[in-house]
Symmetry: C2
Subunit: 589 residues, 2 copies
């Protein structure tokens, strides 16, 4: 099914939603493989023999390279590292995981369509091929100290490390790309009894747990009721991750499990609980309704308008809009309702006066508000777009070159480029109203008179732009956004000196920006929602919608091409092939 373009009506939906979005523009990918295929040469030249604390401090003896510390090796951090010229800085990376994982395929890992190891790539392999020295510490940052420019880290210790495994790393520049955690909305029992689906380990645990539920339900000493309860799979959250998991689980159970557990297969139930009106609410309505119909046909129950209020070891309690509580006995539950702030980010936000926010606020150059050399990107950050109304007087006075107190159309047109770069909402607003330029807007605001030589007072200018800020959007918390941010920031770091000499940003529309660079601009390449049974819904650029088997093949090819290395690409493709030939494995390992 291929549906013609239609305005994406949910554009204003500000919910952050996980992944499933295709990410990473092509240039990034190509750029990476340039570096990768040039391999063989050992660019990772950490050949000095000093270890220990001396490693961290060794950089102090190196004359001029500034210390750049990167926290996290997810989409944002890895994309940053891959695009960074490591020879310009003394780079240290801190992450509790020594690998990058291709998270959009996590739902496929939960049922064995793809193996966990096929979607991970060691971060050392990625940085090894970079020029310059990039060092990696497998540790968790538990405290950021922006006053003394230090990050405090805790090694993924184990029993075999002297002391408590803590160490401190100094920085000149800090890049925070630590991602987010699953938001439980403090619902009691969720952490204890539900699975999450954010890390590779989560997916592995879910896989084991699904098989365990089947084996348990098959045992001889269960009542029919208990058997049914063990086979009740619940997904809380109707976003792309939850829906994709539900679809994968359904495929696994109907394609593979039914043959091996024939006597219990009829008792299996999959239920999706969604607080809103519809599942996949961030997608086009046609996708939502297709998904809901397909799930109905497949026997996947979708309970919309329910909020989960409590999870016990055997029962999920939920409440509908009329506050009536319902108990649902369950065997296994996956919680996937959106993202929350990590504790270390939360306490950092409190330190820097951002306690009331949900994520680290940065300017359009990724710089954490109020701090000079700290950057944040990916799921742990939100770009705080300057509002036109905040700067309206400044804009007016910059535009009013002759200081006449009024703006001519010519004066406005002179600064229009800068305005649109600094305040992208202006361009979006014009597009949404199908207007050519700001002059149309000004005319529109003042009726039909098309006077090219009309002059505007500040009040008239303000009125004309009054609605513009409604177009300010928060970016979704997707891999696609994070990867683009990482690439953008790395390129800023690579051209730091060059752009200090020749600034390229919107110089005439300053505000408190970092005007040697263009501000970050996100480019959406479309998104997928796999729905099972070899059918996928795709929202492509230009608001094209495609649903069905053809999109599934598009999904296969895009996800294969976006893999981080030839190794993972080969593995993912061979996993898919293996699944077609032999089905999914149901061994409980």
């Amino acid at each position: 099914m291929f549906i013609c373009p239609k305005k994406y009506s949910n554009q204003t939906n500000m919910h952050v939603f996980f992944h499933s979005f295709i990410c990473v523009n092509v240039f990034w990918c190509v750029h990476y493989f340039d570096g990768y295929s040039g391999g063989g040469v050992m660019a990772y030249s950490e050949s000095q023999s000093d270890h220990g604390a001396s490693i961290v401090e060794s950089s102090e003896t190196a004359p001029k390279r500034k210390k750049l510390v990167v926290l996290g090796t997810g989409w944002a951090g890895t994309s940053f590292l891959k695009n960074l010229d490591g020879s310009l800085y003394d780079v240290q990376v801190v992450s509790p995981r020594n690998y990058f994982s291709f998270t959009p395929l996590l739902p496929s890992v939960t049922c064995g369509t793809v193996e966990a190891r096929s979607i991970v790539e060691p971060i050392r392999k990625i940085i090894k091929n970079k020029t310059g020295e990039i060092r990696f510490w497998e540790a968790e940052c538990f405290k950021i100290d922006p006053v003394n420019k230090k990050v405090h880290c805790q090694a993924n210790a184990g029993t075999n490390l002297n002391g408590n495994g803590e160490f401190v790393v100094d920085y000149d520049y800090l890049v925070i790309a630590m991602g987010a955690r699953t938001n439980t909305f403090n619902t009691p029992g969720v952490v204890e009894h539900c699975h999450f689906l954010k890390e590779v380990e989560d997916a592995q645990k879910i896989r084991k747990s699904v098989i365990e539920s089947l084996e348990k339900a098959n045992l001889p000493n269960l009542s029919e009721e208990e058997r049914k309860r063990n086979l009740q799979f619940v997904i809380v959250g109707g976003g792309p991750t939850g829906i994709e998991f539900a679809a994968e689980l359904h495929d696994f159970l109907s394609e593979d499990v039914s043959k091996l557990y024939p006597n219990i297969h009829d008792l299996v139930r999959i239920t999706v609980i969604q607080a809103g009106e519809h599942i996949l609410s961030m997608f086009d309505k046609r996708i939502t309704s297709f998904a809901e119909q397909k799930f109905k046909r497949d026997g996947i129950e979708v309970k919309t308008g329910y909020r989960v209020t409590n999870v016990s070891d055997k029962t999920i309690t939920m409440m509908d809009r009329s506050k009536t509580a319902t108990d649902l006995p369950y065997g296994m539950a996956v919680w996937s309702t959106g993202i929350g702030t990590r504790p270390v980010i939360r306490s950092f936000m409190e330190q820097i006066g951002q306690a009331d926010r949900r994520a680290l606020a940065t300017d359009e150059w990724m710089r954490v508000q109020g701090l000079d050399n700290v950057y944040a990107l990916g799921d742990c950050a939100t770009i705080h777009q300057r509002k036109v109304m905040e700067d309206i007087s400044a804009i007016f006075s910059v535009a009013d070159k002759d200081n006449s107190g009024t703006l001519t159309v010519k004066e406005i047109q002179d600064v229009l480029g800068d305005i649109c770069e600094r305040y992208p909402q202006v361009e979006l607003y014009l597009k949404s109203r199908a207007m050519g330029d700001l002059v149309d807007l000004l005319n529109d605001a003042q009726g039909d008179e098309k006077k090219k030589d009309k002059e505007l007072s500040i009040e008239e200018f303000k009125n004309a732009l009054a609605q513009v800020d409604s177009q300010v959007k928060f970016l979704p918390a997707t891999a696609q956004v994070a990867a683009q941010q990482g690439e953008y920031l790395a390129k800023c770091f690579n051209r730091m000196k060059e752009c200090e000499a020749k600034p390229e940003g919107p110089l005439r529309m300053r505000g408190a920006g970092r005007h040697q660079f263009h501000p970050f601009r996100y480019k959406h390449f479309g998104s997928f929602a796999p729905l099972g049974g070899e059918q996928t819904a795709a929202e492509l650029p230009g608001d094209w919608i495609s649903i069905g088997h053809s999109s599934q093949w598009l999904w296969y090819s895009v996800y294969a091409s976006k893999q981080v290395s030839w190794r993972t690409r080969a593995l993912v493709i061979s996993d898919w092939t293996r699944r077609f030939i032999f089905g999914r494995d149901s061994s409980g390992i």
Copy 2:
């Protein structure tokens, strides 16, 4: 290197040693795939809708099929199930693992040469293609009650099962194939601090732990001494498993890790601690010495003549022959010193008066001594071969057809076939002395007189056979033995009725046997010891020895051909290919 046949001098070595032995004769393999490729048809016909306790008891309503319970799904159990005609019995399988694992490749899993999932096959997939009804319960048997013919089982519960997850299964025939556990010789600290290498999970843990050691040693806050300790890998036990793991680890560290952790690679040490004089002592001496030399060249330290007496979290204490203790600081240790008895088998042995044994003693028909309908095979059992001397009077009187009190050569030759079948040590003894038949032996015992018509008294007969029982051998605890035993026993069960009517065993040499069947006879197909660097030592049938790269290719082809399904075969081969192209993955998952 290919060395001409030489008498296998270590044949008398009675040590049970793990695996690495190629197993499963070709017929077994072919037979299996016959069943497998005939698939599509749902032979697993458990279509009755009754569940719960009723499932276990349902068989009571079925008129005549006897209840056959199989404990374990390792080499012995799986081989038994694959060869069994499931339509003849009401079969139930109890095992804590719902899959079969190809254990000879476990050392390859520890370093990612082969993935864990590539060597496992769900047991349900294996039994699904069988005729008849075979049911599987994922549970651990914790008590065998031979008096009431019941086994008590405990489900692999989790939090979601009512009660304590216990249930009881009745049997008419019981097949015990529960394997063994690693023998720690009660050395303090081993269970707490060492890894074992018996299960797939063990191999996965080792893999994670190796990467963890590297990441820990790379951290900035360590002293040189601590760094070295973290990089000291210790293998306790110089048998095939330990040696293969050491070789795999060395390959992984030198081929893959050295590029990614260049600054710590020089600090890595691998040490093998062996109580005996040599590693691989059950192999031909030429293999042993080749392995020792190769390890020396590779920088793998082999400490022979040391017994480990204590393991703490940071130090292994060992003692040499002169009782001098040495401390070895270590980062990670794998304990692989042989097999011990599982607690459930131990308590069963106490019940049936075998408390003083190391494994369940069975007769040559796999029947547990003293019990009529209980069979034991694989690593949890030892066949107790009847000695000639125990039965010498019975043998004499059977042979002495005319009750003359003496045996003529003709009389002896008449029963020679039966004697050799019932007491295979006779044949082995004749071979070892290069004698053609028993007559030579009798002549030998009485000097050179070659009188065909000589008559022997019972005393003379006794003297002639006096040395024969020295050839009685215990079978090694290998996959090869277990698989052959499983096949043998399944075929006995398949022909139970037929052979009751037409017994085929050594009827004239009875003892307390089960003479409708031929007794079990093990056929050794050779064994491999992979030594790393694409070199393998192979001991082939006919006492041929082959060492080097050619044997490695033989190893690849034999292990690929012996895989339990086309799926695992394809996966294992693709893993090997992947390793050649991309190397091994070092992500810490």
